[in-house]
């Protein structure tokens, strides 16, 4: 479980997160919704401590990681996987090397076992046979799937998705949504999806968190979100059209 208390983050004069309190429960998929620039991606990066937080506390399975150093965070990060918005595959490595990266870095698995695990994960994301390709030879949707295979190869307790369907056509986006759902069901991991894609949210979410101006505006299930009469929820649902 990830517990966040009074988390704040500023960039210069702009406050992105304002004393945010939120809990991500174990084994559930939580979707964080919000307009662009409301701090959704920043929230994930703060949990992974890819950037420093200004104030507040972050607890991972009861362990307060707020004051952890970079080297202390390494142990926490090993239990997490992240799919970045632009996939962030290592462009000088092949698909196989990308997916095998964490296994080679952090485990003593034999090359044979690594090969088997990589093939299993590539098969899971329906990308078998692409092992020798470079990321530049793949489409955006394929890169996302490889990035997902890379994020789940160590079978982490937590998997984060940063805008997983942004920039994809509706069919590919749905494939990614189905994969997110399957990953959660298959691994039992705690999943956090950051998006502004309502289709995606309705498909994968077990819990919705809507951010507005760095604060939580709404928290609940998808059904509750759909039925909510709160003004910003209605505006967000309707895509900004007058309601």
């Amino acid at each position: 479980m990830i517990e966040i208390f009074e988390l704040s983050k500023d960039f210069g004069d702009k406050t992105v997160l304002k004393r945010l309190d939120v809990v991500f429960e174990n084994g559930k998929t939580t979707v964080v919704l919000g307009r662009s620039g409301t701090g959704k991606s920043v929230l994930l990066k703060l949990i992974l401590r890819l950037m420093p937080l200004d104030s507040g506390r972050i607890l991972v399975d009861g362990i307060d990681t707020t004051d952890f150093s970079e080297s202390q965070m390494m142990d926490i990060r090993r239990r997490m996987g992240m799919l970045f918005q632009g996939s962030a595959l290592f462009d000088s490595m092949t698909v196989f090397e990308n997916v095998a990266y964490s296994l080679r870095e952090h485990t003593k698995m034999s090359e044979m076992d690594i090969r088997l695990r990589v093939e299993e994960k590539l098969s899971f994301v329906e990308m078998s046979g692409t092992e020798a390709l470079l990321p530049s030879e793949l489409s955006g949707g394929m890169q996302k799937r490889i990035a997902l295979a890379r994020a789940m190869v160590t079978e982490p307790d937590y998997i984060f998705f940063d805008e997983p369907t942004t920039g994809l056509d509706p069919i590919t986006a749905q494939t990614i949504n189905e994969l997110i759902k399957r990953v959660q069901e298959h691994t039992g991991s705690t999943v956090i999806v950051v998006t502004h894609d309502l289709e995606s949210a309705s498909f994968v979410a077990q819990k919705i968190v809507l951010l507005k101006e760095g604060e939580i505006y709404f928290e609940g299930t998808w059904d509750e979100f759909e039925q909510s009469q709160l003004e910003f929820v209605r505006t967000f649902r309707s895509g900004g059209k007058a309601v």
């Binding site: 990066k45 992974l48 890819l50 970079e70 080297s71 390494m74 142990d75 990060r77 090993r78 997490m80 996987g81 992240m82 970045f84 918005q85 632009g86 962030a88 595959l89 290592f90 462009d91 990266y101 964490s102 870095e105 952090h106 890379r150």
Partner: protein, 262 residues
């Protein structure tokens, strides 16, 4: 607006801010070096990329510099009947100054720029963050390995440039200026003292440190997409080149103070 904010916006304030960030970067690199894991295979790969693949351009730089030096000095010295000192002039100027400085400039352009562009591209496409998210320290895997490879390869590259430069000088001396092989060899060997060889090897190590740390620092702090990568890469070559000239002067001065004028 606070006085601190006003000061920071001046050119001097901006420069000091960058200097502070560079110092912090050096601190992080030293901390990364103090504790494992160490990436020996990555260092080997960088030795190949940085060292072996720079060999041809460094060789050409050395040989043509030696040839030009011999030709220019030989022509002038023959007017005073001092042609026999060509070996001395070529050897001393190459080993003390031209070898280390020109090799460093070539490496700054080829390798330093490459490091900045590579790390900068990784930074702006979130690959550095992805590496950190996968519990790998990019300072150990990307930065330290490149700096170590540069520190190892630079003295070797300078040695190659020096030797080929002296041989280039020999070629011109014997073919164009009628200076015999034996005379050239004797004057070269008599001219070079241990102090020259030591300074000729210390300088490349310092230059390697400058090129490596400046290249990596600018790469790791790149922002602003592909335009930012371009700016960082240009800045890397400019700053490395300037610091090579400045540090070369300072080190030459120090070496002369230590060993005394000849």
């Amino acid at each position: 607006m606070k006085i601190y904010d006003i000061l920071i916006e001046t050119k001097a304030g901006e420069f000091l801010t960058h200097l502070y960030k560079y110092a912090m970067f050096l601190g992080t690199v030293i901390k990364a070096a103090a504790r494992g894991p160490y990436y020996f295979n990555e260092v080997l790969e960088q030795l190949y990329q940085i060292g072996y693949r720079s060999l041809s351009i460094v060789s050409l730089t050395g040989i043509f510099t030696g040839m030009v030096m011999a030709f220019q000095t030989g022509m002038e010295m023959s007017r005073f009947g001092a042609k026999s000192y060509i070996g001395t002039v070529v050897a001393l100027s190459l080993v003390r100054e031209l070898g280390p400085v020109l090799t460093a400039l070539v490496v700054a352009g080829r390798v330093g720029a490459g490091i900045t562009a590579e790390l900068g591209s990784m930074k702006v496409t979130d690959q550095i963050d992805a590496m950190r998210a996968m519990a790998t320290d990019p300072y150990k895997k990307l930065v330290l390995t490149r700096i170590v490879a540069l520190l190892i390869m630079m003295p070797l590259l300078v040695a190659v440039a020096d030797v080929l430069g002296i041989l280039g000088g020999l070629l011109i001396a014997t073919a164009n200026l009628n200076v015999g092989y034996e005379l050239y060899k004797t004057t070269v060997l008599e001219a070079l003292l241990m102090d020259d060889l030591v300074s000729g090897l210390i300088k490349p190590v310092v230059f390697a440190g400058l090129i490596g740390t400046i290249g990596c620092f600018l790469g790791m702090s790149t922002t602003g997409g592909t335009k930012g990568v371009g700016s960082s890469t240009t800045l890397s070559v400019v700053l490395s080149s300037i610091s090579i000239f400045v540090f070369n002067f300072v080190m030459t001065k120090i070496f002369f103070l230590i060993s005394g004028p000849l």
